[in-house]
Symmetry: C2
Subunit: 152 residues, 2 copies
């Protein structure tokens, strides 16, 4: 076992690459088309997301993105960047603090808080920001893949 | 204020309709197309979900759906059935217990656990089942819309 000669075949990190404080983030602009696509795949056609006339009667004064679309962005950072491919969700907590709207530029950031080498578990702080303000925060626990041994 | 003459313009429940023990559920079959659509809208192209050859090398022995796709189904029940349209997420906890695969028939069920009339908050148990076994469980807190007053 060891690092020599073993190249990960993909981006991301093995368990023994991970350290407390490591961060990864993505940034993307949310479009009304993204909101419509999320409504279609989830079945969540709550008019708060899709019906401008209805949404304008709510305290939000207009349509907002599904909260779980932001959660999906968290999943994407965990699954593609840190730990990256092979990461598997164990738990996620989510607190929805501010709405995300079509047109918002959304930054999704995850930060390693703890690594349990024995159990291959990684705890990460997860936050979704719009204009520097927290829209969603929470904590994820995922399993990270172990580095393949040289014999395998 | 009162129930007489006020018809909700949509499905779902107002805060004062809600009681501990009320349940709602949806059932749908997850397809590989759903998984691909979720990957596109989230940006989560983790090969565990999309690359059969890679996924077969993992403990899952094949592709699994994104955990957050199940979470999206929970959001859909909350946003379309119970409480229904106008519901807004405050928090959601998720524990991923078993994988969901393309072809699985997924039942998503939410059950009212507590109603806080003063704060308009509803706490619900949330569970996603495959073949009667829990794939994802957790708890949601949402705000439910108050019934419009007769004067408004």
């Amino acid at each position: 076992m060891g690092r020599s000669g073993v190249q990960p075949s993909r981006a991301g990190f093995f368990l023994d690459d991970l350290e407390v404080g490591q961060e990864a983030e993505t940034s993307r602009q949310v479009t009304q088309a993204d909101i419509a696509a999320f409504a279609a795949v989830s079945g969540d056609d709550n008019p708060l997301h899709l019906d401008r006339a209805y949404a304008e009667t709510t305290p939000f004064k207009g349509p907002i993105a599904h909260g779980m679309l932001s959660a999906a962005y968290i999943s994407a950072v965990l699954g593609t960047k840190l730990p990256g491919p092979g990461a598997v969700y164990v738990t996620q907590s989510l607190r929805f603090r501010r709405p995300v709207r079509a047109g918002d530029q959304v930054t999704t950031r995850v930060t390693v808080e703890a690594v349990d080498e024995a159990k291959a578990l990684v705890t990460l702080k997860t936050v979704v920001l719009v204009n520097g303000k927290t829209a969603v925060d929470g904590e994820a626990v995922v399993t990270a893949p172990r580095r393949p041994t040289e014999a395998s």
